[in-house]
């Protein structure tokens, strides 16, 4: 076991212990908030796979969340399926949609891809309104029985942990290497026998599946209600912002990105002195922070962690008399 891996494993264990103990110190409201962090964690993780690793930008992940969320709501409402059983189902349905969108999208790149996925994000809520027979149109659709706060917290973070491990396993091996090859140079990847269409589409599907699970949890966290307005374009933009704050192409900053997106609206509300002002002008606070983060933290939170780790490492090496090589990032 090499050292970064050991550090990562240790950090994960610490995080798991803290997360397991945390709910007992939180009020019900804060438990829901913490669950939202978990679901954004999953969504951002998903986006990071396709954008950060495979290099395919997507502004449509809110739509995949909508698909997952409505899967849960409809299965639970119309067929009385157990909520936990709907989560893998949401993954599969969203995965299917992801493949269906990813296949044509693999022809596009850059800005064209961004706009095509944006189109998807804009269209899905409209389609939900249109097929009101299944979706309850603007009134939404509610799950058969609502869930407890603690239950929600446990399930959300358990899903987040599973998703993280799955993503890590996926990205460290052959497939992850293929993703990065596609991202860094399509020409080089293609000439080494990596199928561009297959890997781009596959990345889209997996990523959409993660977003679908996040969407199911999202519905469970909003009192078990699925409404088209909740899944507007803004949701897609939030996920993208979260991914940028976390740092694309790395798994370690995602928690920070998720916390940023999930908590900023409510933190700015409770902030001393400026709290009331910020509460009324949430958009302003959000915009300012997003721009500031992009200007000041070019590689996101993961980059910050990485740099911090490098500084620590070089300092230790210097003190033990080793050579402090400036590691190229």
């Amino acid at each position: 076991m090499n050292r970064p891996l050991a550090v990562g494993a240790a950090a994960s264990v610490v995080a798991a212990v803290v997360l397991a103990l945390l709910p007992f110190t939180l009020s019900g409201y804060n438990q829901v908030l913490a669950s939202k962090v978990a679901l954004y964690f999953i969504a951002i993780l998903g986006l990071n796979i396709v954008t950060g690793y495979a290099g395919q930008i997507s502004i449509g992940h809110g739509a995949f969340m909508a698909i997952g969320g409505y899967t849960t709501a409809i299965m639970s409402h119309d067929h009385g399926t157990n909520q936990i059983a709907t989560l893998p189902l949401a993954f599969l349905v969203a995965f299917g949609f992801g493949i269906a969108l990813g296949l044509p999208a693999s022809r596009l790149s850059g800005v064209y891809l961004a706009l095509a996925t944006l189109a998807f994000a804009v269209s899905i809520p409209q389609l939900i309104l249109k097929f009101s027979h299944f979706t309850g149109a603007r009134n939404g659709i509610s799950i058969s029985e609502s869930v407890g706060y603690l239950w929600l917290y446990g399930v959300s973070w358990a899903c987040a942990a599973i998703a993280f491990v799955l993503a890590w396993l996926l990205l460290r091996g052959r497939i992850g290497r293929a993703f990065r090859a596609v991202r860094d140079s399509e020409v080089a990847a293609a000439s080494s026998g990596v199928s561009l269409v297959f890997y781009k589409t596959f990345a889209f599907g997996v990523s959409a599946g993660f977003a679908g699970v996040a969407g199911s949890l999202f519905v469970l966290a909003t009192n078990g209600f699925a409404q088209p307005d909740e899944f507007s374009v803004l949701l897609s933009l939030y996920i993208l912002i979260g991914a940028a704050v976390a740092g694309l192409g790395s798994l370690w900053g995602i928690a920070a990105g998720a916390a940023f997106v999930a908590l900023l609206p409510s933190i700015s509300q409770d902030a001393p002195v400026v709290g009331d002002l910020l509460h009324e002008h949430n958009d302003v606070a959000f915009g300012v922070v997003v721009i500031a983060v992009m200007l000041l933290l070019p590689t996101g939170f993961a980059g910050l962690l990485h740099r911090g780790a490098l500084t620590l490492a070089s300092r230790r090496r210097r003190s033990t008399g080793g050579i402090s090589a400036a590691e190229p990032r």
Binding site: T51, P104, A116, E186, V187, F286, V289
Partner: protein, 313 residues
């Protein structure tokens, strides 16, 4: 593509001659489409200058329209306020590029896109802060006159919209084509390195590009207000999305394409709303517009007028 366009024009002409309603809808579509087209052109200008899509374009247009509203509250009449607003928009756009975009420009596309999304949220918030979210009403730029052209009723608002939108596009084209500054700006956008070598101040040219784009956006914003008669913080969001579609349809590289595609989209949506049958539901117009967009992109990945990027393998 030209053949297709010609066929579409002939189809529209025949339709207009046989049905008054059809002609009326076509004119309305051209008016709406020219607004989409001018915002799409603003997007194209920025794309050519900076290589990114400005998600805040619509909100910047909305904010400048609020500036015009404020100027009119202070007693300016419509057209002076219109031109003062355009001047303000120019500085607003240039300053945005210098302060917010330039620092992240050399980084990834994603970084710039996210900054513009942040800007989107910021402008929205500031506008609501200053003017609150209630819809506002501005004096109309054109009288409510309606003309009868051979049985087809055409409103002055539609004609004025077409004239102002296409007029500003034309002025911009003349500027880029025939002035030295325009040439310098094109050079800065196409070959920044070479332009710098021959003495073009590339950064200022890019700021100018953002300035002009914001001016076009302001025109689109003011014209949108003139057609929907109310001013609200969300008014530009649907327009922006159609402008995206138009810009992509036209090929992001092509100014002509953006305008033509904008007008085509306007006509298409208007006719669809009347003759589309099951598809004429207004809730479906966005998905349909995007389905068309997706199909076009799949057939021609760089838009109708764009040049395909050549890749060496």
């Amino acid at each position: 593509v030209l053949v297709l366009l010609l066929a579409a024009a002939v189809f529209l002409l025949i339709g207009s001659l046989t049905s008054d309603l059809f002609a009326q809808l076509t004119v309305k579509g051209v008016a709406q489409g020219s607004v989409y087209g001018s915002l799409a052109l603003a997007l194209v200008l920025i794309y050519r200058a900076t290589g990114v899509i400005n998600f805040a374009q619509g909100e910047m247009a909305m904010a400048t329209t609020y500036v015009a509203y404020q100027l009119m509250l202070w007693g300016l009449s419509y057209w002076p306020a219109f031109f003062v607003t355009l001047a303000i928009a120019f500085f607003f756009g240039g300053a945005t590029q210098q302060l917010l975009i330039r620092p992240v420009q050399h980084r990834s596309v994603v970084a710039v896109v996210i900054v513009t999304i942040g800007l989107f949220s910021l402008i929205d918030g500031i506008v609501i802060w200053i003017w609150n979210a209630d819809p506002k009403f501005m004096p109309a730029p054109f009288s409510g006159a309606v003309y009868d052209v051979g049985g087809v009723t055409v409103s002055l608002t539609d004609l004025g919209t077409i004239a102002v939108a296409l007029g500003s596009v034309l002025v911009l084209w003349l500027f880029f084509r025939f002035t030295k500054l325009g040439l310098a700006m094109r050079a800065a956008a196409l070959r920044p390195g070479a332009a710098r070598l021959v003495g073009v101040r590339v950064n200022w040219m890019l700021a100018l590009g953002w300035g002009f784009a914001t001016v076009l956006g302001a025109v689109a914003g003011l014209l949108t207000e003139a057609t929907v008669f109310t001013l609200s913080p969300t008014m530009m969001q649907p327009v922006l999305i159609y402008a995206f579609a138009a810009a992509v349809l036209g090929g992001l590289e092509s100014p002509v394409g953006a305008v033509v595609a904008g007008i085509a989209l306007g006509i298409f949506l208007n006719l669809l709303g009347q003759y589309g049958g099951y598809l004429s539901d207004s809730a479906l117009s966005l998905p349909i517009a995007f389905f068309v967009l997706l199909v076009v992109l799949l057939i021609r990945p760089s838009g109708l007028f764009g040049r395909a990027a050549v890749r060496k393998v």
